[in-house]
């Protein structure tokens, strides 16, 4: 479904990504892990069209999408939930969902899609008239995911779902993501909770200094934290142990 082939991204004199090659198959759930500054978010932004590769290709469903603007990438069926939720805090939950679903099918189709999406988020259904800004952090993140789903994407790209949230809420969000994936939507996630990301994914890629340094089965990667540590460093790999569910960089990144 998604193929990155030898992608370089440069910011002027700074090369942020070096020869990134990776893939996400139909209905697959794939994790992208790595230390801060490894290039994870840059990879997602390049897929979404916010950055343009200096070299290499990105294809989605057989079509080149590298260099396309984000709106065009969205039209191809890629929805990106960015780090930071970009919700309209003064607007209701329902009005935020409308942002993700103006289609030619009109109000009835919108309501039908809302119902489908809300099945994953019963709490949002209860709070559909509430202003987004009054929701808890976890509920706001749910609304972000719900809004991304409103466009019925084939691939959901998720950047740091857990950012600033309590572990219990994070676990709940991962369960929701797994349920969404089970309906056929492929997921590519960047996550600071490495253990949790690897537990919920079928495959994973580890990035260091803008390069893919490890790729393979997520479960095997999770069960061999020492291997991950060799590439990512002990601090990041600490998040892969059973007891190490607190992200290595939680103190610096929690909001």
């Amino acid at each position: 479904m998604l193929e990155l082939n030898d992608v370089d991204v440069c910011y002027g004199p700074v090369q942020a990504l070096r020869g990134i090659s990776m893939s996400v198959g139909d209905g697959e759930m794939v994790a992208l892990v790595g230390a801060n500054g490894a290039g994870k978010t840059t990879t997602l932004r390049t897929i979404s069209g916010m950055l343009s590769p200096a070299r290499g290709t990105i294809t989605f469903d057989g079509q080149r999408i590298d260099g396309m603007p984000p709106w065009k990438v969205i039209e191809h069926g890629v929805a990106h939930l960015p780090e930071g939720r970009a919700l309209f805090t003064d607007m209701s939950v329902m009005d935020n969902l409308r942002l993700g679903a103006w289609t030619q099918s009109g109000e009835k189709a919108f309501r039908r899609r809302v119902d489908e999406v809300m099945d994953h988020f019963p709490i949002l259904r209860e709070r559909s008239k509430q202003a987004a800004g009054t929701l808890s952090g976890g509920e706001q993140q749910m609304l972000g995911v719900a809004r991304a789903l409103m466009s019925t994407p084939k691939l959901l790209v998720v950047d740091e779902l857990s950012l600033g949230l309590a572990p219990k809420i994070v676990a709940q969000l991962f369960d929701i993501l797994t349920a969404i994936n089970a309906t056929g939507t492929a997921v590519l996630m960047v996550e600071q909770f490495v253990h949790m990301a690897l537990s919920h994914s079928s495959r994973a890629y580890a990035l260091a200094k803008g390069e893919v340094v490890l790729a393979g089965d997520a479960k095997e990667m999770r069960d061999r934290p020492e291997l991950l540590a060799a590439y990512l460093g002990d601090d990041e790999a600490a998040g892969t142990s059973e007891g190490g569910r607190v992200p290595a960089n939680a103190g610096g990144r929690a909001r």
Binding site: R45, P69, W71, G106, L214, D217, R224
Partner: protein, 186 residues
């Protein structure tokens, strides 16, 4: 390491990584050389960029992107799912005018809010030109949404004219957006 692990987890071939890195370095060096040439021609007062300057630039860039990209993505979602599809809906009046009007108000209101959010992001000097272009692109999308809003109740030649204006403004905004992305990479 077990044989299974060896086959399942694939540390990347260092030779191919090195070769890829070499090509990457050549590409970036070329970009850098062109950028340096342009910089030396455009500003004789500008000194050599040190590693510390590059690191500082990268930090400001990451911070700027973190602030601006969520709003850009949200705007892209509005554009992709709203006005871009809405042009033909309004042209063909596929839905009741009241519904089309609510949608068009929504596109215009949200794009206006997002344009404001994007404009408010504090920008380091070396990204000013990209930010200006992003602001221009957003102004174009807002203008296109405004034309669509006016087109909903209009009829005949006026509606056709407003729809044409909206389409032209949207296309022009797309081009300016592309220029902004290219500017960030430079």
């Amino acid at each position: 390491m077990s044989a299974g692990m060896m086959t399942a987890l694939r540390p990347r071939n260092r030779r191919s990584v090195s070769a890829g890195a070499l090509v990457g370095i050549v590409v970036c060096a070329s970009v850098l050389a062109v950028a340096a040439l342009i910089a030396s021609r455009s500003s004789s007062s500008r000194g050599t960029t040190s590693n510390a300057d590059v690191r500082a630039q990268r930090t400001s860039l990451v911070s700027w992107e973190s602030e601006i990209h969520p709003a850009v993505l949200a705007a892209s979602q509005v554009v992709a799912l709203g006005p871009r599809q809405g042009v033909s809906e309004i042209a063909n009046k596929t839905q009741p005018i009241a519904e089309l009007r609510v949608m068009a108000i929504g596109w215009h209101a949200r794009l206006t809010v997002l344009a404001g959010q994007i404009a408010d992001v504090s920008t380091p000097p070396f990204l000013q030109s990209a930010h200006v272009l992003l602001n221009q692109a957003m102004a174009g999308y807002v203008h296109a949404a405004r034309s669509l809003l006016f087109a909903v109740p209009a009829s005949g030649a006026r509606r056709t004219s407003l729809l044409s204006t909206a389409t032209a403004d949207g296309r022009a905004a797309d081009k300016v957006y592309d220029a902004a992305v290219a500017d960030i990479a430079m």
